[in-house]
Symmetry: C2
Subunit: 247 residues, 2 copies
């Protein structure tokens, strides 16, 4: 490794994409092949092991993979304490100095744990720099798989989470030309109800995109039966708002 | 090549990312290395040659690159006619049968000419199938470069175009936690005015991300001076709406 500014090892936030190891970028593959340590964290289900599985074929034989524990609690103090501790562990490696990457499913800028880690790391070590390597998001992969555009011409694209239920859907359903709802898991019925009410949304439901058990359902009815995977999302389109796209 | 369903060559819609050849996916690189013909089209500035430059290092030596003309007019008939003609050219290659990829800057599902081409192609040849290979969007690359998250926790992310001015910004500015404005070129002052009025948006302006002449400006003031590149976008955040992200 070659020490970066302020004598630290180089630090990378690497998006490893939605699941298929071929959907990581050429740069992500190159970075993973040259770092000494790879940190992996996820709060949900098998996210940590999935990110690790994607990264695995690209790692140098000598690379160490270190999981970071992210407690599943709504207690803010507990979460903050855990992330401070995780940031200190990463900093310890960079101070050695060794090069390290923090891997994250999807894209490090989009609803990613990288944001929390980086905020704490840069507070601990203001001279530290990070290179962020973007990654393909779950909703881009789902759109590709379903053959459904996310947005055209002068349309709008709104991306929200369904983790807390239908509130975000209600906020945007009349206004958005295209509405993507991530993390539908557990609140599927509520999200489906919010998508149906008061507008003319059509949709595609994609589960476990690029993973074993992948499913693509046309229509929002697929949601009411309940959703069996954290990796379920909806791409909904407001047909009323559809305009001539090339104008 | 190996003929796909219905005797056609295999057809791929390939996102080549925002500009840096390293930001294409491993799958895109593999697909580009095995197709016989690469079609490239763009309505704006140097988009066609940029997409071609990104794809170039990954192509088989025997591959042919064919530019598709996309006329810069608001006359719907003329545009439709050109795209029908382009679709017939692509179909001619697939019928040979040869394998072909249509390359597009960014992601083929996100504001992409691939959508128009594919709609026409599948009307001409209902048995035809396409494999869509997702790509990194300009706004993901810009967020990575600026070190600015696009969205956290339960926030919303809204993506609109500034090509027609400030109307889309006005529609979403009070509601969106994070608002990305693409294609600010030419309407920069109007977009800046819309971003400033009636809400508490802060922003980062990124021009020519990953290209020679790249610039990252903190604050929306960078927009009022006018924007000298088609590849200018804004990542704006509504600080009023910011919530505890992990709840």
């Amino acid at each position: 490794m070659s020490p970066g500014p302020a004598g630290y090892g180089r630090f990378y936030g690497v998006g490893v994409g939605p699941g298929d190891p071929e959907l990581i970028t050429v740069r992500a593959a190159r970075v993973l092949g040259r770092v000494d340590v790879v940190f992996s964290a996820c709060a949900h289900g098998d996210g940590e092991s999935l990110a690790r599985r994607i990264a695995e074929p690209y790692l140098a034989p000598s690379a160490r993979v270190v999981p970071l524990h992210f407690p599943m609690t709504r207690n803010r103090r507990e979460v903050e304490a855990a992330w401070d501790e995780n940031a200190r562990r990463v900093l310890g490696v960079l101070e050695a100095p060794a090069d390290a990457a923090f891997i994250t499913l999807g894209d490090p800028s989009t609803f990613s744990t990288f944001t929390y880690l980086w905020r704490r790391l840069s507070a601990l070590a203001p001279g530290l720099e990070a290179e962020v390597v973007p990654g393909i998001t779950s909703y881009q992969a789902a759109a590709a798989q379903a053959g459904e555009p996310l947005a055209e011409g002068e349309e709008s694209l709104v991306i929200v989470s369904g983790a807390k239920g239908g509130a975000q859907v209600e906020r945007f359903r009349a206004l958005a030309d295209n509405l993507v709802v991530l993390k539908v898991y557990r609140r599927a019925e509520e999200v489906a109800r919010a998508l149906r009410e008061g507008s003319e949304l059509e949709g595609v439901v994609v589960s476990r995109c690029g993973l074993p058990g992948e499913r693509v359902h046309r229509g929002l009815d697929a949601l009411t039966a309940g959703s069996d995977s954290y990796y379920t999302l909806v791409i909904a389109k407001n047909r009323r708002r559809r305009e001539w796209p090339l104008a």
